[in-house]
């Protein structure tokens, strides 16, 4: 197969775009589409200070790489979930990547805050691992980006993550979540940082190829608790559909964004309350994080480590 642009040998075939590209043309194809996403959805402005949440996987490290390449000089945040072996191995990848891009990295550890890892914390909250994990990650990402005054929080969520969660929301008609998903969530001064997903329209396969071709050393291993997660089942089914009808995933998600716009215009935001301790949105007086620190008798302030490789 040849590159559609230069006739050199192709490195990847993109059936959704009906094209095949060589290494150089593929890398610039991905970068161009990320640039378009950033511009179209107004994700970033020149001079924005950015915090990238990194797990050591292909998505987040590629995102850190690409935003660095674009000149945003993002800082990284790694959340150590305290999962035996897996957390240490992923932190190692993140640290060596931070050194390579000469960036600043923040490391916050659940075990250092609570004396407990995610497994134990999920038990205390009587919640499934993945749901408890999501709650802590969202809280810590937001709190640290606000504390560090890094106004934009970027995550590596990709097309497949979004499409599979959209499918899940539709299958069970979770209307309370359905229209909350977006490429960008605006800042809410004093409460929430601006959140962006520059890979919203880029597939996992494209990111894996991008990471490989850019020489990014990421962790292949999956979180041991994600085994059997529903997301993986949805992804498997969507991949089979994609294999039969290339481009379906992209169409599904773009159709969602189009409808989201119409939906948002006709709808008022419901009343939201905020945690009386930390100002994070919450259902009751206190958010999940602050009520847990109270319950376990842990101080409100916690420490996290700084690794500055930028000098």
């Amino acid at each position: 197969m040849k590159c559609k642009l230069c006739n050199n040998k192709a490195a990847i075939n993109l059936r959704a775009y009906n094209t095949s590209l060589c290494k150089a043309h593929f890398l610039s194809f991905v970068e161009k589409r990320v640039t378009e996403t950033i511009r179209k959805y107004k994700l970033l402005n020149k001079g924005d200070s950015v915090l990238v949440a990194v797990s050591g996987g292909k998505d987040s490290l590629s995102l850190w790489h690409i935003l660095t390449k674009f000149g945003y000089a993002p800082e990284g945040l790694y959340i150590d979930l305290g999962i035996n072996g897996y957390s240490d191995r992923s932190l190692k990848k993140v640290l060596s990547f931070a050194k390579e891009v000469k960036a600043r990295l923040w490391v916050v550890s659940l075990k250092e805050i609570f004396g407990l890892g995610i497994k134990e914390l999920a038990r205390v909250l009587k919640r499934p691992y993945c749901s408890a994990c999501g709650t802590f990650k969202r809280y810590l990402m937001n709190r640290i980006s606000m504390e560090r005054n890094l106004r934009v929080l970027a995550t590596g969520h990709n097309l497949d993550d979004e499409v599979s969660s959209l499918l899940g929301n539709l299958l069970y008609w979770k209307e309370e979540y359905l229209w909350k998903k977006n490429v960008v969530l605006e800042e809410y001064e004093g409460h929430l940082a601006k959140k962006i997903k520059p890979f919203f329209l880029i597939s996992e396969r494209e990111i894996a190829a991008y990471a490989f071709l850019s020489g990014i050393d990421y962790i292949y291993e999956e979180c041991p608790y994600s085994v059997g997660a529903k997301t993986l089942l949805y992804k498997e089914i969507l991949s089979r559909i994609e294999d039969q009808s290339p481009g379906t995933k992209l169409m599904f998600l773009k159709g969602y964004l189009k409808r989201l716009k119409a939906e948002k215009e006709g709808r008022e935001q419901g009343p939201v309350s905020y945690c009386t301790i930390c100002n994070y949105p919450s259902w009751g007086q206190k958010c999940v994080f602050c009520s847990l620190t109270e319950r376990l008798d842990i101080p409100y302030k916690f420490e996290y480590k700084e690794y500055d490789f930028s000098k």
Binding site: A11, N13, F212, C223, T231, S239, E242
Partner: protein, 67 residues
Amino acid sequence: MISILMPLEFDGKKMDIEKPLRIRQLLKKLSLNPEDYIVVVNDTLVTDDEIVKNEDNVKIIRVVSGG
């Protein structure tokens, strides 16, 4: 004999092939959906029409993550 390396799945598995075959057919033989993998032959990322022969090092990388 081609060496197939699939990080974390069939790490280091070896497979004998009678005659050269295309990546597309190799994935089919292994019952893998091509949408879920990228394939690296002798350290180069290749498309699925690439032909592998004995003595090639094939790395099949799964692209799906738990999220």
